[in-house]
């Protein structure tokens, strides 16, 4: 029993830190994915923008969905949201709290990807090199529009034969990279200030509602874990009884032929209490169905 208590206390105090850990790992994974990914701009007029913006926005969507999938609490929240009311009322504040904490954690990895992309600059250079104003850059001023489109589209490709030593290419590239990095740092600054303000100003608004919502969301999480643990314990005891009965019936048959088996361990009366009279398939099914359709009221007096 003590061991159970230790393990449950660990889970209670650390389910937040486990989720924070997963969140951090996913952010690191997103940075690693970006560095491993071989960015290669097509350098063709119609494809550049789609490629550049695609690389900037599609992986964040994937990372966001991954963040939702890997977070255990999202299932708990959905369960609580969709369950029938039964004897226990639903508190929308708790569901909202859980939803917002899940979303916040899931947003970290996509934001990390976007910021790393902007600070690196390749995506923006690829996407917007074709929209540059040629008047600003000497090498592109006296060129026909068709040629201009082709030349500008080739700016992200340093090794292209037309662009190899082109000074104007470097100018365009530096210009776009400057904008990209400025955007990246601004977004990072805004997010950090917003997070700081949100954390600092939160105690000024509805602190008691927040404490309640946090307590009951932790409670729902722990209750779910304990239910699963209890089901496991129950199924283990159920299996144990089932096998003992089987061996006992075998033993009776064998006793008829003067064949003495060494005595097995005696059935524990204590385990009868743990099984709580639930000893067949229909009773277990009924129990599980009742747990879902009519959760008991939060009253253990």
């Amino acid at each position: 029993m003590d061991r159970f208590r230790m393990i449950f206390q660990y889970f209670q105090s650390n389910s937040e830190s486990v989720m924070n850990g997963i969140c951090g790992l996913l952010a690191l994974a997103s940075v690693k994915m970006y560095t491993c990914f071989d960015f290669s701009c097509p350098c063709l007029p119609q494809y550049n923008r789609a490629y550049g913006l695609g690389i900037m926005f599609i992986p964040p969507v994937i990372l966001f969905l991954c963040g939702l999938i890997l977070n255990r609490q999202s299932l708990v929240m959905l369960d609580e949201w969709r369950r029938p009311q039964g004897h226990r009322k639903k508190d929308l504040a708790v569901i909202r709290y859980m939803c917002s904490s899940i979303m916040q954690r899931a947003m970290v990895a996509p934001v990390a990807w976007i910021i790393v992309t902007l600070l690196d600059g390749k995506c923006l250079i690829c996407a917007f090199s074709g929209s540059m104003d040629p008047e600003k850059f000497v090498g592109f001023a006296n060129v026909t529009p068709v040629q201009l489109e082709q030349l500008l589209a080739k700016v992200p490709c340093k090794d292209d034969e037309l662009m190899r030593n082109n000074m104007s290419r470097k100018a365009v590239s530096r210009y776009l990279r400057c904008w990209s990095q400025a955007l990246g740092w601004s977004i990072l600054l805004i997010l950090i200030v917003a997070a700081f303000l949100a954390r600092w100003l939160r105690p000024c608004f509805n602190q008691d509602t927040l404490l309640q919502a946090r307590h009951w969301s932790n409670y729902i999480d722990i209750e779910q874990k304990i239910f699963e643990e209890t089901c496991c314990e129950h199924s283990r005891l159920f299996a144990h009884k089932c096998i003992l009965h089987f061996f006992q019936s075998m033993r009776q048959e064998i006793k008829l032929h003067s064949f003495n088996l060494p005595r097995q361990g005696e059935g524990d009366e204590g385990e009868e209490d743990l099984l709580q009279g639930i000893t067949d398939q229909h009773q277990v099914n009924k129990l599980l169905k009742t747990w879902y359709y009519e959760k008991p009221p939060l009253d253990v007096s």
């Binding site: 061991r3 990914f37 071989d38 290669s40 701009c41 097509p42 350098c43 063709l44 494809y47 789609a50 490629y51 695609g54 690389i55 599609i58 992986p59 969507v61 994937i62 969905l65 991954c66 939702l68 999938i69 999202s74 299932l75 959905l78 369960d79 969709r82 369950r83 490709c157 090794d159 292209d160 699963e228 643990e229 089901c231 496991c232 314990e233 199924s235 283990r236 159920f238 299996a239 144990h240 089932c242 096998i243 061996f247 075998m250 048959e253 064998i254 008829l256 032929h257 003067s258 064949f259 003495n260 088996l261 060494p262 097995q264 277990v284 099914n285 599980l288 169905k289 747990w291 879902y292």
Partner: protein, 338 residues
């Protein structure tokens, strides 16, 4: 028993994380396999597509099958599927749950291989280099080249060292174009897989949560029951062997007493604990005879009840009725196959 309980609870609570760990390892292994694999496009018109698409699609199929083979629960599923009804009905929902959870885990490594392949771009470049739109990207009106010649030139795009079609279409332009398409396909594939996984996971609580809880409980139960049964049988085998061997030594000892007219030491009232364990065998010659007898003539798998004094336990005294040995034989065969 407490130790068993602890171990079972550990496995039960961590079975999911154990299986997830195996999934993750297989996914990493598939990435490592891809980077270790030396991709060599043949650069010939009809072979390129077969090679490229083969490398894209055959290893995932192998990884999928490997995912099933490495999963211990596949034998449990097969057993449950094929067993006769007997006194316990079969629930198809449980079988479906077990199969789905195994298939989902087995799909991860192939999906990783396909994503990594598409994001890298070599396979698609190799497979589709002959379909590059030359009119848009190069000089389609190149004279003196028949269609077949053009195909042969385009097929050499992945092999930069032997490429001789720079006037037709620049190698870098074609490679960049194909790689762009490949990476777009790769990201779309990853997005599709992630969206599917998200939908499967999030729509379940909305629809069949009660049925899901039931299937999950009974599939865990079947697993635990199988493990407990194996352990109970092992315990039984241990006790069986212990009694069998004890009766063998007792039989030997009684026999030797009868043959050599030694005083039966077992009758001594003040015998110590250790002396009792010697079972009446107290010198080298007797021990050697016991060992020889154990090797040459093992006792039958038949434990006599303790109140009936047994004589030559290993020479084969009064045998029980034949048909009662059948359950014993089956049990013994079961043990040996385990």
């Amino acid at each position: 028993m407490d130790k068993f309980r602890m171990i079972f609870q550990f496995f039960q609570s961590n079975q999911e994380s154990f299986m997830n760990g195996i999934c993750g390892i297989m996914a990493l292994a598939s990435t490592q396999m891809y980077s270790a694999f030396d991709f060599n496009c043949p650069c010939l018109p009809h072979y390129n597509m077969a090679y490229g698409l083969g490398i894209l699609l055959v290893p995932p199929f192998i990884l999928f099958l490997l995912g099933f083979v490495l999963n211990n629960n596949i034998s449990m599923l097969a057993e449950e599927w094929r067993r006769p009804h007997g006194q316990r009905g079969k629930d198809p929902a449980v079988l479906r749950y077990m199969f789905c959870s195994m298939a989902q885990r087995a799909m991860i490594a192939p999906a990783v291989w396909v994503s990594v392949t598409l994001l890298d771009g070599k396979c698609i470049t190799c497979a589709f280099c002959t379909s590059v739109p030359v009119e848009a990207l190069g000089n389609a009106s190149h004279p003196l080249l028949s269609q077949g010649e053009i195909q042969r030139v385009l097929a050499r795009i992945p092999c930069k060292e032997i490429y001789n079609g720079q006037e037709l279409i620049a190698n870098e332009v074609a490679v960049r174009y194909l790689r762009c398409i490949s990476q777009a396909l790769g990201w779309c594939f990853v997005l599709l897989m992630t969206t599917l996984a998200f939908l499967v996971r999030s729509l379940r609580p909305c629809f069949s949560q009660a049925a899901f809880l039931k299937s999950r409980y009974w599939s865990h139960y079947i697993d635990i029951e199988r493990k407990l049964f194996d352990d109970t049988c092992a315990e039984h085998a241990r006790s069986f062997a212990k009694v069998c061997i004890q009766q063998f030594f007792e039989g030997m000892s009684t026999d030797l007493v009868a043959a050599r007219c030694h005083l039966p030491r077992k009758a001594s009232a003040d015998m110590g604990e250790a002396s009792k364990k010697l079972l009446g065998i107290t010198d080298q010659g007797t021990m050697n005879m016991a060992l020889k007898s154990w090797h040459r003539c093992k006792p039958p798998l038949h434990l006599h009840p303790p109140d009936l004094p047994s004589g030559n336990g290993w020479v084969g005294e009064g045998q029980p009725p034949v048909h009662s040995s059948a359950p014993r034989r089956e049990t013994a065969a079961y043990y040996s196959s385990v």
